[in-house]
Every structure is written in structure tokens, then in C-alpha cells.
């Protein structure tokens, strides 16, 4: 406590810059303040709430699908829900294959583009990055507001697509041609929705990069940036450079669907026994190349911010500097570069030839090195620390082995020979879900528990947090671990009946019920979180501004910093690296970045 007051005084004396705007500042109306807000904190919260709702929605789609997988062709137990989804989709409470496909495609799309990325980048990035670099807002506040609202429009568009004739998009979140080109109208709406989401990401990424380069406070050199900021920085470059090719692909597919072109339609295509009346001459593989050119970097967009969050929390709760900060930073940058030249490891089975396969399997093996370095550095950071097992720390700790499982199971997929067996099986689904669900989503939960006190001034309940953590950990493994078993047995993904009609699947079929039950229990396990989240806003334990005794600048400003450029009363100045914990000879076990002097 005494320490904290001292450092606050230090800030004040560091630089006094009278702020005339503070006094003449007039109150904004409710709409400008909370709805069309230009303040990075409000926008961050808007992103956070919207994306959490989408995550819940995407998860619900999957919980419904899991019924069909566990009990293929049986009547849905909740009549009201079956009715809600309509006779056209679930006649007599039994799910139609077409509807299953819609749910699958939209689950993937919503989870990735409307859930995880907006939460990891839009919410955490927006709220935390400007605070951590000691500035008052993002570089372009209006653009920031626009990003959010364009994202929102994209989300609405995706939801509306369910009401199209033929329902929502049903060609998977990958929208492979030619299937997607001849699909129902929902696909057109999906493409339009994607154009909104891409535009939003582009605007956002420009904003982040400019903010980080231009608005760092005095003394905050690049090598003093918290790793979280680095992670967001690299992520923004990936979004900036990888999304435009998907936008191009989207435009081409829209042309195929609306103007009758044949970019992705080969000559002589026959649909339902009828030759398709198009000029032909296109290439379905072109779509896959353009799609994966985005979608591989996209997986690093999903994982890098999560690594950033975990790094912050681990340094803070082990009370020591991160092990190998520089290696972490260089690995993240290298990862960013490499992620642009591995995309075709998703396409080993398309017959693109062994030379190309060899190239991409080599680059894939190379890119696994920086990932392993990051994971190892985080793991070694635990060594010799006096660890505080707070709820955020538990989630951050669980991230390490979960991400490790996800990453290691990816290696066989990156080598062409084993991938021939594993491609498009449940093994793949297990692999990437370990990365994004118990990996990224756990990290995002960690982040919510960690920064909640900064936003609200109160702490989330520890007991509920621990219940949430342990139950989620058990059930999420129950969902995804058996997928490896099924996949190795050769069960394909995207099967409407979970493999029931395949002879080779019979031996592993019993897992379907187990996985589905785990998924539903996982749903229940989120209830303590939801209760905790809302209850703590008013009833949580009140805590001081730097509750976790952290060193980075986001903890140097007050709780829930005032809107309209009020983050810092005085511009802070940075004197040291981001994780000066347990400094030899210092009075407390942490030295905030803005504290001058040696100790």
C-alpha cells in the first residue's frame, strides 16, 4: 500500500503538464458516451460483450448439433427448441442433414470471426493496449468506433442469413468451391457478412499498429513493451496483410454467384445430373489457396493474443520476470512472418504435387520452432517462482498443457504422409479445438478474471472462479480428447450421423454420447462464470487500482479510468522493462515501469 502511494507520487512529479481540456470538458450525451462512443475503453467493452454473446451463441449451435451426433435421427428432447428452429429444419423434432450443415458452418464462422478474434483483439486489445503503452486513446478514435459498428453489422448479417430461403450458409466455414458457389442464398449473405468483418478487422489493425508505433510514452522503447502489446502488434500485421486476399476471394465468389462467372468452376461440372450452364475454365483450388492464405495466419491471430495474456498473468503471479523476454518477442515476430508461407499444408490431399507438398511441410516444421520456444519460455518462467494460484493464474497455467496438446498433435498433420490418413477426420477437429478452446478460450477467461478489477474496481469471486475453472477443464477434455481416438480410427468430420453408417467407425462410436454429454456439462459449467460476471459488478470485493501488484502501465492508472482521454492524469514516463519483479535490493517485490531510479 505504502509502496503504491509512493509510486503514484513519483508519477506526479515525473512530469507536470497542465491539461486545459480537463476543465473545459463538457459532458457528452448518453448515446455519444456509451453507444457511439469513441473511447477505447467503452469500445473495448462493447466488443467484449458482443463477442461473448456470439461465443455463447456459437457454442449453443454446437450443443444442438451434439444431440444429433450422440443420438442420430432421434427426436430432439426439448420440443420448444425444436419448434423454435422450425419445421423446415427439424420436422417432428428430427434434425435434417441440410440443417446440420448450416449449424456446422455457422458454428465455425461465428466462433472464429465473431467470437474469439473480436474478444481477443477487439476487446482486450482495445482496452489494454492504450493503457499499457501509457496513452490516452487509440490513434484514430473515430475509426475505432467505425470498426466496432462494422463488426456489429457483420454479425447481424450473419444472424439474418438463417432467415434466408434455404437457411444460412452450409458449405462449412471454409466455403470450399464449387459446393459454395452452387449453394443456397445463405452463402451470398455469408459473403457479404464476411466483407463487413474483413473491413472491420482492417480498420482495427491499422489503428493498433499506428497506436503502438506512434503513441508509446517516453521511455517505452520497443524492447520494454509488455509481451501482450507485442502479441497484439504482430497479430495486427497478420490481420492487415492476410485478410485482403480473402476479401479478393470473397469478391470472386460473389461474382461467381451473382454475375455468372466461373472463377472457381471447372469446365464440365455436372450438378444433380445436369451439366452446369457456365463458361467453366475456373479452378476450385484457387479458392482453397486464397482461403488458406488468410486462414492459416488467422490461427495465429487466434493464438497470439492468448499467449500475450498468458505471459502477463504468469509474470504477475510468479512474481518474477518472464524467462527469455527477447526470445518471446523474436519468436512472435518470426511466427508472424512464417505464417504467410505455410498455408498449403491444409491442401496436401488436393494433388498439388510432391514438390509443393515438400516445400510446405518444411516451412510447417520450421514454424513449429518459434511456437515451441514461446511455450518453453512460458513454462520455464514458472521455475522457482512463488506462484499465486489465483483464478486467472489457474486458467493461464492450464493454457500451457492444453496448447501443447493442440500444437503437438498438429505436427503429424503438417507432414504430408501421415496427413493422408488424418486429413478431414475428427483428429483435425480435436487438434484445432485444443488450440482454440482449452487454449485460447481459457486464456481469454484468464484475461477476463485478470482485468475485471481494472474495469469495474471489483474482483470476481474466487470460489465461483475456481468451480468454473475445474469443471471446465474436466469437461472440455471430455469433449475433445476422444476426437483424437475417433479420428485415428478414420472417422470423418462433418458427418451428419457422427459415423453411424460406417463400418470402420463402429468401434469408436460409443464416444459420441460421451463427448456430447461432456459438451452439455461444459455448458452448465459456464453458469458459475455468468453468475460471477454479473454478480461481481455490484457485489464483488472492492479492490484498489493495482490489485495484483503488477508492473505494467495499465495498473498505474486509476480503476476504470475516466472516459474522454482521461486515462492518465499526468503522462507517465517509463524507466524500466515490463516485468521488474523481485528486483534485488528493492523494497517491494515489484517495480512499476514508471518508477524511476534503480530501486
Amino acid at each position: 500500500m505504502g509502496q503504491k502511494e509512493k509510486s503514484a507520487h513519483v508519477v506526479t512529479s515525473a512530469k507536470k503538464e497542465h491539461d486545459k481540456h480537463e476543465s473545459e470538458h463538457h459532458e457528452l450525451g448518453f448515446v455519444r458516451k456509451y453507444i457511439f462512443s469513441q473511447d477505447h475503453k467503452v469500445i473495448g467493452i462493447q466488443y467484449g460483450i458482443t463477442s461473448l454473446l456470439f461465443l455463447l451463441f456459437g457454442f449453443s449451435l454446437m450443443m444442438i448439433m451434439r444431440w444429433q451426433l450422440a443420438y442420430p435421427g432421434q427426436e430432439f428432447p426439448w420440443k420448444w427448441l425444436a419448434d423454435f428452429m422450425g419445421q423446415a429444419n427439424m420436422p417432428g423434432g428430427i434434425m435434417l442433414p441440410e440443417f446440420y450443415n448450416q449449424l456446422g458452418a455457422m458454428h465455425g464462422t461465428i466462433m472464429v470471426f465473431l467470437g474469439v478474434v473480436p474478444l481477443a483483439v477487439g476487446a482486450f486489445g482495445n482496452y489494454v493496449v492504450p493503457l499499457q503503452i501509457g496513452t490516452i486513446d487509440m490513434a484514430f478514435p473515430k475509426l475505432n468506433m467505425t470498426s466496432y459498428w462494422v463488426y456489429f453489422l457483420g454479425g447481424v448479417t450473419m444472424l439474418v442469413s438463417f432467415a434466408m430461403p434455404g437457411g444460412a450458409a452450409n458449405s462449412g466455414w471454409t466455403s470450399y468451391a464449387p459446393l459454395s458457389v452452387i449453394a443456397t442464398t445463405g452463402q451470398t449473405v455469408w459473403l457479404i457478412g464476411m466483407v463487413f468483418l474483413i473491413t472491420s478487422s482492417l480498420l482495427g489493425s491499422i489503428n493498433f499498429i499506428v497506436t503502438i508505433i506512434q503513441l508509446r510514452v517516453k521511455g517505452l522503447t520497443f524492447m520494454r513493451l509488455p509481451f501482450f502489446v507485442w502479441a497484439q502488434f504482430v497479430t495486427s500485421f497478420l490481420l492487415l496483410l492476410a485478410f485482403p486476399p480473402l476479401e479478393a476471394a470473397g469478391v470472386l465468389q460473389l461474382m461467381d454467384r451473382l454475375a455468372g462467372t466461373s472463377f472457381f468452376l471447372p469446365s464440365g461440372l455436372v450438378v444433380s445430373g445436369q451439366p452446369l450452364a457456365v463458361s467453366g475454365g475456373g479452378s476450385p483450388l484457387l479458392w482453397q489457396h486464397l482461403f488458406w492464405f488468410l486462414a492459416h495466419p488467422e490461427v495465429y491471430v487466434l493464438i497470439l493474443p492468448a499467449m500475450g495474456i498468458v505471459a502477463e498473468i504468469i509474470a504477475n503471479n510468479t512474481r518474477k520476470p518472464l524467462w527469455g523476454y527477447k526470445s518471446l518477442v523474436y519468436s512472435a515476430i518470426f511466427l508472424g512472418f512464417m505464417s504467410f508461407i505455410v498455408w498449403a499444408h491444409h491442401m496436401f490431399l488436393t494433388g498439388m504435387g510432391t514438390t509443393i507438398s515438400t516445400f510446405f511441410q518444411t516451412t510447417t516444421m520450421i514454424i513449429s520452432i518459434p511456437s515451441v520456444i514461446i511455450l518453453t519460455a512460458l513454462l520455464l518462467s514458472l521455475w522457482g517462482g512463488s506462484i499465486r494460484f489465483t483464478t486467472p493464474m489457474l486458467f493461464a497455467l492450464a493454457f500451457l498443457p492444453m496448447f501443447a496438446i493442440g500444437g503437438l498433435t498438429g505436427l503429424p498433420l503438417g507432414l504430408a504422409p501421415p496427413d493422408i490418413h488424418l486429413h478431414d477426420t475428427y483428429y483435425v477437429i480435436g487438434h484445432f479445438h485444443y488450440v482454440v478452446a482449452p487454449g485460447t478460450i481459457f486464456a481469454l477467461f484468464a484475461g477476463i478474471y485478470f482485468w475485471y478489477p481494472k474495469v469495474t474496481g471489483r474482483k470476481m469471486n474466487e470460489l465461483l472462479g475456481k468451480i468454473h475453472f475445474w469443471t471446465s477443464l474436466v469437461f472440455i477434455n471430455g469433449v475433445f480428447m476422444p476426437m483424437f481416438i475417433q479420428g485415428l480410427a478414420g472417422v470423418s468430420r462433418r458427418l451428419y450421423d457422427g459415423g453411424a453408417q460406417y463400418a470402420h467407425a463402429q468401434g469408436v462410436l460409443q464416444w459420441n454420447e460421451f463427448m456430447s454429454t461432456s459438451a452439455w456439462l461444459l455448458g452448465l459449467a459456464q453458469i458459475p462464470f455468468v453468475i460471477n460476471f454479473f454478480w461481481s459488478i455490484r457485489k464483488g470485493k472492492k479492490v484498489e487500482a493495482n490489485h495484483w501488484d503488477a508492473t505494467t502501465l495499465d495498473w498505474a492508472c486509476t480503476t476504470s479510468p475516466p472516459l474522454a482521454h482521461g486515462n492518465f492524469k499526468v503522462v507517465p514516463e517509463v524507466h524500466r522493462g515490463p516485468y521488474d519483479y523481485s528486483h534485488q535490493g528493492a523494497q517491494s517485490d515489484f517495480l512499476p515501469q514508471n518508477q524511476p531510479g534503480e530501486a
Binding site: L202, S205, L252, M255, A259
Partner: protein, 196 residues
Amino acid sequence: MEIPYTIHPRPDTGVYNAKLGVWLFLASEVMLFGALFSSYVLLRIGSDSWPHGYSILDWKIATFNTVVLISSSVTMVMSWASLMLKDFKKYKLYMGLTILCAFIFLAVKAFEYNTKFGHHLYPSTNTFLAIYFTITGLHGLHVIGGIFVNSYLWGPGSKMWKTQPERFTNRVEVAGLYWHFVDLVWIFLFPVLYLL
């Protein structure tokens, strides 16, 4: 408190915020058009027959359009230079010319499209025309976007010259960067589609 470096460059990076922002935006645009050009290459390599651009398209009228667009880039630079010399009248003139050139370019493009449609040549006719219409169409949208920005800076937006001349000059500079990029894309488009 105000956001720093909105007008003056940050000493250690040497740029002001909007300039860096526009360069980043252009980097993403390079990826957008780069993907389309790559698609062109892939489709062309993969096809059995591919017409020569000059056998379908009118390269003469496109050469004229190239000249128009390059001139507009020159006038754009002149308009910015005029502001640097504090000559607002000249600025108005050159910016006006830039906008005029953009309109001429679009008119010529519309005429070209119309002729093609008149000969029953549509995007759906073959893959060459498909990519021709798509890329030039997207480029046309960029030209339209440029017209909006430049017209704003020529008209209502130019009031800022009286209150914040430096900021206004920056805006024109940034709009100029974008406009040169639009020009540059065309310089790639023209030989690839019309001549090869």
C-alpha cells in the same frame, strides 16, 4: 489531453499518425490487388486457351486513359505543392483538375464497358472477361472513392485551410498517397489486361 502526433511527425519515427495509417492501408491494398493478380496468373496458367488482351479489348482507348490517370497524379502533387507554397487558389485549380481527370477516366471506362456489353461480352462469357471486369471494376470503385475524398477536400473540407492549414496540408498529402496508389494499380493493370 490530445492525441499526440496528429499533425507533427513523431521525432523517432519521422511520420505523423495519419501518414503511417495510410501507408499501412496501402500495404493491405497491395495484398488485395496482389491476390487478384495472382488469381489471374493461376487461372491463365491453368486454362487451355487464353485470348490476347488486345484481340478483345481496345488498347488505344486504354492508353488514353492511362495518360489521363498519370496526369491526374501529377496535378495531385501540384495541388499539395501549392499548399506547401501557401497558394490556396492554385490548390483549388489543381485539385479541381485531378477530380476532372478522374471523371474522364470513369467516363471512358463506362464507354468501354458499354461497348463490350453491346457485343454481348459479359463477365460470364469467359474467364478472361470475368477477371477483366472484376479487376477493372474494383479499380473503378477505388477511383470513385478517390473522387469522394478529393471532392470533399476541394469543397467543404477545404474550409480547414483557414483554421488549421498544416492539418489540411497533411490531409491532402495523405489523399495524394492514396491517389498515386490507384494510379499505380492501373499502370499494372493496363499492360497485363490489354497488352499481354
